[in-house]
Structures are given as C-alpha cells and as structure tokens.
Amino acid sequence: MDLFFFSLFAFIALICAVNVVLQKHPISSALSLVGVMGSLAVLYLLLGAEFVAMAQVIVYAGAVMVLFIFVIMLLNAGIEEHRGRSWIAKLLGFPAFVALLGLLCWFVQRFFPNTGFVKFGDFTGGGAQEIGYALFTEYLLPFEVTSVLILIAIIGAIVLARKELD
C-alpha cells in the first residue's frame, strides 16, 4: 500500500515537476507546481507529517501559488520570449544538472542505504499538538523571529508594490 501510494504520488510529483520546467506558459508551470505540492502533501501524510501536509496545502498551494497565479494574471505574462542569452547557462547548464543529480543520488545511496523504511503510521509525531509543543518550547525564538520576518516581508511587499504617491 505504501509502495503504491508512494509510487503514485512520486510519479505525479515528478511529472508535474518536469512539467513546471518544460511548460512554456507560466500558468501551466504554476499549476504543475501546485500539482507537485499536492503530491508532496500526500507524501508528507505518508511520512506521518499531517500538520505539515496541511500547512503545505494551505500555505503553498492555497496562498503562495495563488499569489503567483494572481501575479501572472495581473501581468498577463505570456509565453516566455527567447531573447537574451546566457552562454554559461547554455554551456554548463545541462552538465551541471546531470552532475548535480548524479552526485545527489550517489550521496543519498551512499549515506542512506536501505536501512530505514517508511511505513504509514510508524511515526505519529507530526500532529498539531506535537508541532505546537515543539514550536512554543524549543523553537520559540525562531518562531518569534519568523513572525518578525513576516512583518518585514509584509511591509516590504507593501512598500514595493505601492503606487507612487503623486
């Protein structure tokens, strides 16, 4: 069952991810990304991270990506233009991608041989209670700092996007 779900959603995630990169239109990319995020949310659930899964959907899919789509719509962004160039990206882009992928996989295989297994229900520490507890004890300071960060981000976004006062 685990294998099935994992395979299914990993597959969806990968397809969507590739789609993000390959789609010409930003909206398509954005929707594909939503797909990736949804799939990942499911994978999170499989990994016992219920809260994060929900947060993933709410924050990422529900807010961040909506924002993206909003901006795409607002700017009426079309199919991307093929002007400009980056010879370095052209030259090294693909090799770097392959090398990075290969190396990462190699590292994963090397340091995490198949010892650990994920089985749904093995880990139940991802509920709201556990997260909340950790958040307000061990990670209180980062949490508060994050709130400041968000405040700054809000102000920054407002300042940036605000219309010039005449």
Binding site: S29, Y60, E81, L101, I131, A134, L135
Partner: protein, 112 residues
C-alpha cells in the same frame, strides 16, 4: 539483491532513501529549471520547487529519526518561502512596471 528479496523488503514499507532520491530529483529539476527558464516568474517557481524538494527530505529525515524537528524546519521554510514569495512577487511587479519585461536575461542591471 534478487527480486524476491527486494519484494520482501518492500513489505516493510518504502525505503527512506527513495524519498530522498525523489527529493534530489525534484531539486535537480528545480535547478535545471532555474538555469533553463527565462521568465522570471517561472524561475521563481523553480526556487519554490527546490524549497519543496528540500522540505521533502526534511520530512523524510524526521521520519527516519522519529523526531519532530524536521517538521519544524519545513514549517519555517514554508513561512520563509511565503514571505519570500510576497516580497519577490512585489519586486517582480515593480520590475515589470519599470521595464515592461519579465525576461530575466534582460533584467541584468540594477540601475534602470
């Protein structure tokens, strides 16, 4: 490892490394997207993709070690990503307003 053994093994569940490999794949795809795409918004989305990939590995590690910290990291990453998206998109809006282009190759000077 012969197939029967592998099948036997898979009854225990999915190896954590598979999740990590998936994470690596997603991350690399994000990197590739960053390098390939020209639309600034798409590039931005590729960043989000990379962040998500990393989140996945955090969660996988959390499961592996049976610790909630990984979740929290993910949580923070999300928060930061949200903030980043807000500011980043606001910047994109401003840039577009000033230059009427979203092509990242044409946005290569700080001065306008």
């Amino acid at each position: 490892m012969d197939p029967s053994q592998a099948l036997e093994m898979l009854k225990n569940g999915v190896p954590t490394s598979w999740y990590l490999t998936l994470s690596a794949l997603l991350f690399s795809i994000g990197v590739a997207g960053f390098m390939i795409r020209r639309n600034i918004i798409t590039v931005f989305m590729c960043i989000e993709l990379m962040l998500n990939a990393v989140n996945l590995s955090f969660i996988a590690f959390a499961h592996q070690h049976k610790q909630v910290s990984g979740h929290l990291f993910t949580f923070f990453v999300m928060v930061v990503a949200a903030a980043e998206a807000a500011v980043g998109l606001a910047i994109i809006l401003t840039v577009f307003k000033n230059r009427s282009t979203l092509n990242i190759d044409e946005i290569n000077t700080l001065k306008n």
